[in-house]
């Protein structure tokens, strides 16, 4: 096992890794930028090193500074957390070259999953379902109709050069497809000077369901069940839970097997997440792999009893997985709310500033992952996550009751947070019934 690790991150995930290290009796070196110089959580590290100015590009994203810090602090490994350099294959390579263990997947796996086309190809090779669609640009109406009939309506047309919804059309039948094809091309031409459009099956009211995987350096792979992350706003996850209210044991097994096949195909190791869209009929489609620990990993920790960050470190140190697939049992229900320093009444505008009051929830069934306490400053330079409020109870109904109670207790002054938003979600009948999809927030909480 490692004697000393450098943590190349900040905020709650830095604290999370610090905790794992301390429980494994590993010394910690924490880097920080000038914006975090007075951060309270620095006290939790054995050593801290300032690596640069507030701007991420010159501190948390600056590879030479982080490697230099690792060298002067004489560490054996670097944990990158999530974000920043965590999915940077080049950084992982540099670590290897400098004889520092990168706590994460091999650079090749990071690179493969970092490229959408390659990731899709791997999934297909592994036999996992991907969203069906055209191989490339549609050349004619006829081709569009033939394809759409083949994969089944509804379909969506997308501009190859597109973005922001322009050049996009959903079609439910031949007529709307033909109209849409010409409209989309015209719009794409006007917007991007490129009329090329392609076609994909349109997944209606999908849920976002993802599988947590762990693999050791010997190629042993297990999955730790799923997380349902359908409560999103502009593709940013806000609430995650495990198990998914939408999965039965059969779909769970199929999705888990698909996830394992995909990461096995990429010779993956360490922690990773395979993301899927799940349609109301129970069909699922591969989206992408997140080749790192995720913000929402705690819900899986709660239901499996497995400390994912500790396992990441053990795996990187060369230990074999200590459990097999049949040892993984999901107990109860865990839900996480991401508490951000954002004003839900002002279109989720970030609200950096000084936290004057911090009365955190606690008690039975409550876990709080945070780097904040009263007096903390939230710098404007980085993401706005201030706490992850996680509950774990015997069943989903009790978990919701505990979350409502915990959200009611949570009292912060000095900055605005998303706590009031979460309170509303946990009062919403559809959410309580587990009847949601990725459009839930936009549909019910459109703030704009």
């Amino acid at each position: 096992m490692f004697r000393r690790i450098l943590i190349a991150n900040r905020g709650e995930i830095a604290v999370r890794v610090l905790r794992a290290c301390r429980e494994l009796n590993i010394e910690t070196v924490l880097v920080y930028s000038e914006a975090d110089r007075n951060a309270q959580y620095l006290r939790l590290a054995d050593e801290t090193i300032c690596i640069g100015p507030p701007m991420s590009a010159k501190s948390y994203l600056d590879i030479p500074s982080i490697i230099a810090a690792a060298e002067i602090a004489d560490v054996e490994a670097i944990h990158p957390g999530y974000g920043f350099l965590s999915e940077n294959a080049h950084f992982a390579e540099v670590c290897h070259e400098c004889n520092i263990r990168f706590i994460g997947p091999p650079p090749e796996a990071i690179a493969s999953f970092g490229d959408k086309q390659r990731a899709r190809a791997i999934a297909k090779k592994a036999g996992a379902p991907t969203v069906p669609g055209s191989q490339g640009i549609l050349t004619s109406e006829e081709e569009a109709i033939r394809l759409a009939r083949e994969i089944g309506f509804p379909v969506i047309l997308k501009a190859v050069a597109g973005g922001g919804g322009r050049g996009m059309r959903v079609a439910h039948n031949d007529v709307s497809l033909i109209n849409g094809f010409h409209q989309a091309r015209a719009e794409a031409e006007a917007a991007f000077k490129n009329a090329g459009v392609y076609l994909e099956k349109f997944i209606e009211r999908p849920r976002h369901v993802e599988i947590q995987v762990l693999g050791d350096r010997e190629g042993n792979l297990v999955h730790l069940g799923e997380r349902d992350c359908s409560i999103q706003r502009r593709h940013q996850k806000l609430i995650e839970e495990s198990p998914s209210p939408a999965l039965n044991p059969d779909i769970r097994k199929k999705m888990g097997d698909a996830a394992l096949a995909i990461v096995r195909e990429a010779k993956y190791e360490n922690a990773g997440t395979v993301e899927f869209l799940l349609d109301p009929a129970g069909n699922f489609y591969f989206i992408e792999v997140n080749a790192r620990v995720q913000v929402e990993h705690p819900v899986t920790e709660m239901v499996t009893g497995i400390d994912i960050v500790q396992e990441q470190i053990r795996i990187a140190a060369g230990e074999r997985l200590r459990f097999r697939q049949e040892d993984i049992v999901l107990h109860g229900c865990a839900i996480e709310c991401r508490i951000n320093a954002e004003d839900p009444d002002a279109n989720f505008r970030p609200t950096p500033g000084k936290v004057t009051t911090w009365m955190a929830p606690g008690g039975p069934g409550v876990r709080l992952d945070t780097h904040i306490s009263a007096g903390a400053e939230i710098p404007p330079n980085y993401d706005s996550l201030v706490a992850k409020l996680i509950v774990h109870r015997n069943n989903r109904r009790d978990a919701i009751a505990t979350m409502r109670r915990a959200l009611a207790e949570f009292h912060v002054e000095g900055i605005k947070t998303t706590i009031p938003f979460h309170r509303k979600v946990f009062d919403h009948a559809d959410f309580i019934a587990g009847d949601v999809d990725t459009g839930f927030v936009e549909r019910h909480f459109s703030m704009k």
Binding site: E34, R37, N38, Q40, L42, R43, D46, E47, T48, I49, C50, I51, G52, P53, S59, I63, P64, S65, I67, A68, A69, E71, I72, A73, V94, C98
Partner: protein, 176 residues
């Protein structure tokens, strides 16, 4: 701040300094002094000021008490050896000086190789293009230039010492 002729500390190495600071944190010390002759002075306070404590951890501050500074043993570094220390300017006289801070994290070298002379020393005149030191980061030797004109009043870190981003390296009397 009326005492004069205080010996000036060479900044001790990061690891040791951190250990002492951690000790202070654990024991709620506001002052910890270890003299070269081995004598020790500690002072506790009920409510310590966190920010101040953290500051002490990293910046070789002008020494404010009546006792000698933190480093217990004579420095082996070429400059700021104990002999020089006694000649250090009094604290008050430093008001007009500028701290030249490290622009990167890495290992500090005073010369281009162990046999060579230091780029600058106390009393050296520097111009913007003058190389003050080298900081090694990822096996790359980064020449650090003065980018100002003036006189080196003090070298604050030892040769081959690890330095953080923003850590003061030199005290400079900048030309008006």
């Amino acid at each position: 701040m009326t005492k004069e002729n205080q010996p000036k500390s060479a900044a001790p190495d990061l690891g040791r300094l951190k250990k002492l600071v951690n000790l202070m944190k654990d024991a709620d010390l506001v002052e910890l002094e270890i003299e070269a002759n081995g004598s020790i002075r500690l002072r506790r306070r009920e409510e310590r000021i966190r920010e101040a404590a953290q500051h002490v951890a990293w910046l070789p501050q002008p020494h404010s008490g009546g006792a000698p500074p933190l480093v217990p043993s004579a420095s082996a570094a070429p400059a700021t050896a104990p002999g020089d220390a006694a000649a250090a300017p009094p604290v008050d006289a430093r008001a007009g000086l500028t701290e030249f801070k490290s622009p990167i994290v890495g290992t500090f070298y005073r010369a281009s190789s162990p046999e060579k002379e230091a780029f600058v020393d106390k009393g050296s005149r520097v111009r913007p293009e003058t190389v003050l030191c080298i900081i090694e980061a990822m096996k790359v030797m980064n020449e650090i230039r003065a980018e100002m004109s003036g006189e080196i009043v003090e070298v604050l870190v030892k040769n081959s010492q690890a330095v953080e981003f923003g850590q003061p390296l030199f005290l400079v009397r900048v030309d008006k």
